[in-house]
Symmetry: C2
Subunit: 197 residues, 2 copies
């Protein structure tokens, strides 16, 4: 006797993050999550394959957003700025979920396996961005390099957004961080072989 429950996915996600924060990820079961959300385990499994997917289910939306943003970015945009359009869209999406994102980050930081999974997620987002750039006609190694640079920008901007209490505007921070990347890479000169220890 299953019936439609309004926003069951969101309720399950909130319940899961609360429980992971209170008890730890390992100590929480799908039954606990369903009960906290006032839903059934069957409803849980209609939305998530397992309790880990509650934390990583957003990966495919970030991937899809990136593909679309990069494919649709206007032609004259340099590759790094096409990537910036994708990161901006991530920023908008993520900043609307600040409290959930903060809980998620703390849960992941407390568990080595989840940390590793998070790094794999970033690596696979970098691959997806590089693919999208290749489809725009960007050659390698520029495509992978630009993708990696974009992920680096996102990572640093995201940490600032989380760590600096007054920071609210993640897309703005991402733009600033990209400008800083341009500044730190522009500052250098050619490296002399003789400097190597």
């Amino acid at each position: 006797m299953s019936r439609w429950e309004p926003n069951s996915r969101g309720r399950l996600e909130q319940a899961a993050l609360q429980l992971y924060s209170e008890r730890g990820f390992e100590q929480t079961t799908v039954a606990d999550i369903a009960m906290r959300a006032g839903l059934t385990e069957r409803t849980f499994f209609r939305h998530f394959a397992d309790k880990r997917e509650v934390l990583f289910g957003g990966e495919s939306s970030l991937q899809e957003i990136s593909m679309n943003a990069i494919a649709c970015a206007p032609d004259p945009l340099a590759p790094i700025d096409a990537v910036a359009v994708a990161l901006d869209a991530w920023g908008v999406l993520i900043q609307d979920r600040r409290e959930l994102v903060r809980q998620r980050r703390a849960v992941i930081a407390a568990n080595a396996e989840l940390q590793a999974r998070e790094l794999l997620k970033r690596a696979s987002l970098a691959s997806a961005i590089a693919d999208a750039l290749r489809r725009r006609g960007v050659a390698d190694p520029a495509a992978s390099l630009t993708a990696e640079a974009g992920i680096a920008v996102f990572k640093v901007a995201f940490e600032r957004w989380m760590n600096e209490p007054g920071q609210q505007d993640l897309p703005q921070l991402i733009r600033e961080t990209l400008d800083q990347l341009k500044a730190v890479t522009a500052g250098g000169c050619k490296v002399q072989r003789e400097l190597v220890p």
Copy 2:
């Protein structure tokens, strides 16, 4: 009755990588490795905490090299070029071990847990580089951003070095890749908010 064995660490490493390649990482035991190297398990454990450390024991030398290279880089060098000195030193070290490095990479690619461990290693090298830059007086977020950019350059250069059969000079490839990063980040313009989907 343990006795000194010449280059036992190198012999164990070679034996381990051979076995991991032949049978897979999971299917290899420390006893197998010691036997293949003609040494005892006791000797193995004098050099490595476990069979995984054969693959990741180099992390601390890369970390130490980076700290030294960045601390000793001449003052006028921009942060990104101080990082380049460290990456150049990595390149020299790694290219001397091309065959072992190639085997190691294939073993890691075949095992999800090892892939995750490899990503953690890169993340912790990025942190170490950022720390070394902070000690040079580089402020955040420039320190973390420069470190992440350096890791991105290394990753892309390393993949090229492994995938392009004619490529021998890893330090040269690292320098080229850094120049490409400078080019891809310099190419852009400011992102317009209106472009966001």
